[in-house]
């Protein structure tokens, strides 16, 4: 097989980044809402369309990415198109991509920011098996009118306990974006899971 460069990124990056960002902003402003990324992109596995689009939209040389369960091709793809360095340590990551939700490292391994600078915390992008709104876990908090529900398929049972502990550190804490193919849903650190 001939040696080839990384797969292409966005064909119209200015628009694609703007649209992806707005989907993401809607998702984080409305935790639990499932959004679709509409822009075409064919990233190497295990990056999904949504997770790759998010990273190409937000990451650059100032934001190290930690990759969990993603191989060399995914790393090269991200480095080539975003210029972002690949973080060796979880704690250094501004963004972390986790290819399989069941392999998610403890949330406390990632940078949670500080009380004085909570914005310096990591954003975790976790590829899951499926996202369905309107059923599953009950969520409340800023961005949610009353209560909403989100079903995250493939998530380890311990996640929600860890999530509760993450919320208890507020204003510190990581933020999470679940991705499944072209779908995404967000859990900012303020979102409370009511079980």
């Amino acid at each position: 097989m001939a040696v080839t460069g990384p797969r292409p990124g966005f064909t119209a990056p200015v628009l694609a980044c703007q649209q992806t960002f707005r989907s993401l902003l809607t998702a984080i402003a409305h935790p639990g809402r499932v959004m679709a990324v509409g822009t075409p992109l064919d990233p190497p596995l295990p990056l999904g369309l949504a997770s790759a689009a998010i990273l190409l939209t937000l990451a650059d040389m100032e934001t190290p990415i930690w990759l969990g369960g993603a191989g060399e091709e995914a790393a090269q793809f991200l480095q080539f198109h975003s210029g972002a360095p690949i973080a060796k340590e979880r704690a250094q990551a501004v963004f972390a991509f986790v290819a399989r939700a069941s392999d998610l490292p403890p949330l406390v391994h990632f940078n949670a920011g500080s009380d004085a600078s909570p914005e310096r915390s990591a954003t975790l992008i976790i590829e899951v098996d499926g996202l369905v709104a309107g059923q599953g876990r009950r969520l409340a908090g800023p961005g949610i009118e009353g209560e909403t529900r989100l079903d995250v398929a493939g998530l380890d049972g311990g996640f929600w306990d860890a999530w509760r502990r993450n919320g208890a550190r507020f204003p510190m804490g990581v933020d999470v974006i679940f991705t499944a193919g072209d779908r995404l849903a967000a859990l900012p650190r303020t979102t409370i899971e009511r079980s």
Binding site: V14, I28, A29, A116, G143, F170
Partner: protein
């Protein structure tokens, strides 16, 4: 690597003026601002072709948000036709070739200075505030190092003391605009110099509220449906302005009114500060 030619704006500038690297940095700041409601996220504010203090923070936030499907409304003092609102609207027409409107209900993004529209905002709309001084504690404490620590420790006693001193001296809290609020029960936040009349509109608003302070290099946010409480005391609850007069143009009695001097003998009349709201009411009447 990144071809940025797909949607070029005027004279070779990028779409919506800002380069993509700057937009990325601002977008990251906006997302963290939404995740920590009311907290001021520092960002690498750029020099804009408009002066600091004239809306550069709001413009940078809008530029990082806006796309070809958006409809932008820009108001200053509630009106679409004030000079700086005209100038900012024209800036985005030139650099992003987007559609603009004066109608609150048609807009997807509303950039504002000093007012929240009278027409209730709808889910999905984004209100972008231009902020001159993002730090609500700055009037009390000049040092950024100190105010940052106060926010980190949720140490807001000094603010309550200041408000209480007002009550002791004047019988009321003598702050009429930029009246401090507490967001989601945690951060004390400057609502920007909106009249306190508008403060209640921030509470549990279905729209996303974003705040940009260009000169002070801060971005902060209130997500939809989020609690925003004006600081007060049980025995001195928060109150908004009321007028005995009504709008001379549309007759509204529940809006924020601008006072207009009509002669040099004390003659004055009052008109809605929200020009679109006033106009809509008159159109309905005429029908």
């Amino acid at each position: 690597m990144t071809d940025e030619s797909d949607t070029a704006g005027e004279n070779g500038y990028n779409f919506a003026y800002l380069d993509e690297q700057t937009k990325r940095m601002i977008r990251r700041a906006i997302l963290k601002a939404v995740a920590v409601p009311g907290y001021q996220v520092p960002f690498g504010s750029r020099e804009m072709p408009l002066p600091y203090g004239w809306g550069t923070g709001g413009i940078q936030v809008t530029a990082a948000l806006i796309g070809p499907d958006d409809v932008l409304k820009v108001i200053d003092q509630g009106a679409d036709d004030t000079t700086n609102a005209v100038s900012i609207r024209r800036f985005f027409e030139r650099t992003a070739a987007i559609a603009t409107t004066t109608r609150t209900v048609e807009a997807t993004i509303i950039q504002t200075r000093h007012r929240i529209p009278e027409t209730p905002l709808a889910p999905g709309q984004i209100l972008v505030y231009q902020v001159p001084q993002p730090e609500p504690l700055r009037r009390l404490v000049a040092s950024e190092v100190e105010t940052r620590t106060m926010h980190a420790l949720e140490e807001y006693g000094v603010m309550h003391v200041r408000l209480y001193e007002d009550i002791a001296r004047h019988g009321r809290i003598a702050t009429a605009y930029d009246y401090p609020v507490k967001v989601n029960g945690r951060y004390v936040m400057a609502p920007s110099p909106i009249p306190k009349f508008d403060n209640p509109k921030m509470d549990r608003n279905p729209a996303l509220q974003l705040f940009g302070a260009g000169r002070e290099k801060r971005i902060y946010a209130v997500p939809p449906h989020t609690s925003v409480k004006s600081l007060d005391f049980d025995d001195h609850p928060f109150e908004i302005e009321r007028w005995n007069e009504s709008c001379a143009l549309c007759g509204a009695t529940e809006t924020f009114l601008d006072e207009v001097l009509t002669d040099d003998a004390g003659g004055r009349l009052f008109v809605c500060s929200d020009s679109d709201y006033c106009h809509e009411r008159r159109v309905v009447e005429d029908d």
